[in-house]
Structure formats: structure tokens, C-alpha cells
Symmetry: C2
Subunit: 211 residues, 2 copies
């Protein structure tokens, strides 16, 4: 099965598996079967095995998976075996909160820079991260070899910031502004859209209770 196209769903699930495996490893567990991990995550065990099968064979039949080994394998597949340095554009309430978001470190992700266009913010620090002038962004991205940025600016500026980032050579963007950003080529955007997600919840439970 190795070599076929791999979907985003599979990659996101690998990240979820990884987080759970790390948790188990910390607790001292060293071996797990596909059904044990998928029972905990509430998905079918075939999905776990299928997801891994795109990349090779990592288990032992009749036994299960070596957790330590699997953690390394998944980190390698995703590309987070080394530390991932990311930046934030927009040091408002949301951007500032994300700078201090504790969920990144488990995944080897570290925020190393923040940018804004407000002179009152530039030069100040949030949790040890200096807020820089947006005009310095291209140089920073290139010298620090940054591949991923989080956009936390008001929606009116989001596409403009997106274009600047692409020009500066960024490869992936996580967009928190409520607009759909358009990119081209090998630059990817995940639109993190809280309102759409709430709409989806509204519709789901309404339908569910209607039967």
C-alpha cells in the first residue's frame, strides 16, 4: 500500500495517534494493539492500521506496536522529528493568547516570532517573544527558515498579509481570520473558522434531535 496518495484526514489522525501514544509512553506503557488505541479514540481499528499502511509496516503480528518506535516513525512521517519554528502575525488578543498556548510544545512546535503593524506594540514582549514590525517579516522568514505562520489579524487585512507571507517564502498558513484565503502552488492554508464550526454544530444537533 506504500506510496499511494495520503489524505489530510490520515495525517490529522496520525497527529492524534501521536499525542495519545506520547501520553501512554509517559505513563510507562510500551506496547499497544491497534484495537486498544482506537477504542480510546472511538474509531475503528482498521482505520489505524490502514493509516499506517501508507507508510510501511510498523507492528508485530500477534503482538502489537512498540510505542517508542511508533512515536519516532510518526514524527518522521509528519516531519516534526526536529523542532518546528513558527511565527504569528497580529499581536492582538488572539495572537497574544496563541503565543502562550501550551498545546504546541508536545508536538515539537515552537513560536519564535510575532509581528504587528501597531507602533505601540512593536518592541514590546509577550512571554519572552519580541513583537517586531511587519516590515521585517521577509528577512526574518528567510534568515530563520520559517515555514509556517499563523494569521491573527483582522479579516480586512488577512488576504494582504497572506500575500506578503507567500512572497516571503512561507509554505503553510493557519488562518484565524474569518475569511477564506486563496493561495497558489505549494503554499497551503488551513482556514480555522470558528463561526462555520459553530454553524455545523447548530445544524448537527438540530437534525439529530429531529431524528
Amino acid at each position: 500500500m506504500k506510496g499511494k496518495h495520503v489524505s489530510s484526514e490520515t495525517i490529522r489522525r496520525l497527529a492524534v495517534y501521536l499525542r495519545y501514544l506520547e501520553l501512554l509512553y509517559e505513563k510507562g506503557v510500551r506496547i499497544i494493539s491497534s484495537s486498544d488505541i482506537t477504542n480510546a479514540l472511538n474509531i475503528p481499528s482498521t482505520q489505524f492500521r490502514k493509516d499506517l499502511s501508507f507508510f510501511g509496516e510498523f507492528g508485530k503480528r500477534g503482538v502489537g506496536y512498540d510505542i517508542g518506535k511508533l512515536i519516532k516513525v510518526i514524527r518522521g512521517i509528519i516531519g516534526i522529528d526536529k523542532k518546528v519554528k513558527i511565527i504569528i502575525i497580529g499581536a492582538g488578543k488572539l495572537g497574544s493568547a496563541l503565543i502562550e498556548y501550551p498545546g504546541f510544545s508536545d508536538m515539537n512546535i515552537e513560536i519564535v516570532g510575532a509581528f504587528d503593524n501597531n507602533p505601540e506594540k512593536i518592541g514590546k514582549k509577550i512571554a519572552n517573544i519580541l513583537i517586531r514590525d511587519i516590515s521585517e517579516i521577509e528577512e526574518f522568514i528567510k534568515s530563520e527558515k520559517i515555514e509556517i505562520a499563523l494569521i491573527c489579524v483582522p479579516k480586512e487585512h488577512a488576504q494582504n498579509v497572506c500575500n506578503i507571507l507567500i512572497k516571503a517564502g512561507i509554505k503553510g498558513i493557519l488562518n484565524f481570520a474569518p475569511v477564506k484565503l486563496i493561495t497558489t502552488g505549494c503554499v497551503f492554508v488551513s482556514n480555522f473558522d470558528m463561526s462555520s464550526e459553530i454553524c455545523n454544530l447548530m445544524y448537527s444537533f438540530k437534525k439529530c434531535s429531529q431524528g
Copy 2:
């Protein structure tokens, strides 16, 4: 086509269409064709027509769609024709930032309550929203008829908070803690997982540049 099962993808896209339609309406545009809206959003026009077809016929052949009418229709479909009152659990950095997130109001979504278990925070206000003791949550949900909550507590407490919310009768949860929450019945969770999304970006552009 009316009556068939409708996917979450369709509902999320309806929300995206709605936001774009509102933007056009404000600019004074009153009529739009499926290809005009989908060109702007970078998707095929058949997808727009197909998404709407689950719910009825809303366009005029040879002409297009009346934007004002379509806005009302989509709001009705999703269930956001009236104001949607939501609450936040966890008044830390992220929770506080979300209380002031400006992207909700466009969608008729309003944050009406915040809860925490930290005595130093309880009784204070963030942007006019009183932070209440988590023990008051069940009463608040019932008296205010709250259906949706955002979980912004540390990951260790997230599943516990989730269980409390379900017991209190909540219907939808947007989870910002980096753990997959498990629910049952007509209670839905969207796990808003920034780390997995960054993993997905990492993998995507790595693959893309490899060809």
C-alpha cells in the same frame, strides 16, 4: 434531491457562502450567479448548486440568486436566524481572547457567559462578561437555554468539563484543548486542534515540493 442526508462539509460551506453573501449585500450587490460566488471562493460552481439542492430551489434559471433571499434561506437552514447564545469554559488567555473575538457577531453568535474554577478570576469581568463559578454552570445553561459551549480549559480537565456540560444539557461543544473528547447521543464535539492542523500543513507542503 431535498431530504437526503447532508454532510458537515456542506454545512460548513453554507456558512462560508453566507459570509461572502453578507459582504456582497453590504456592498450593494443584490444578484449573484453560482459561478460568480464560486470563482471568488475557488471551488466548482456545481458544488454550490449541489449544496443548496439538499434544501430546495432558491435560484432563477438564466438569472442567478437573489442575495437577500439567499441570506435568509441559509440562516434558516443552519438555524442561526435568531441570535445564538454561547458560553466559554476557562477564562485563561485563550478563553479571554475568544470572548472578545469579533468574528462571531457577523454570524449572529454572541458569547453570554464565562466560567472558571479559579477564585481569583470569578467575579471579575472580561469585556462586560462576568466570570462565574463553574459550579453555577448547570443552572445557567438551563435558565438561559444555552446549546453551545467552547472549552478552553487545560487538557487535563477537558473531558471532565465535557461530561459536566453534557449532564447540564449542552448540545454542541467546540473544544480547544488538545485532547479528543468523547461524547454520546445528540451531543456533538468539534475538536479544534491547532497542532494537528500544523502537522497537516507540514506534511502537505513537504509532499508538494517533493512532487
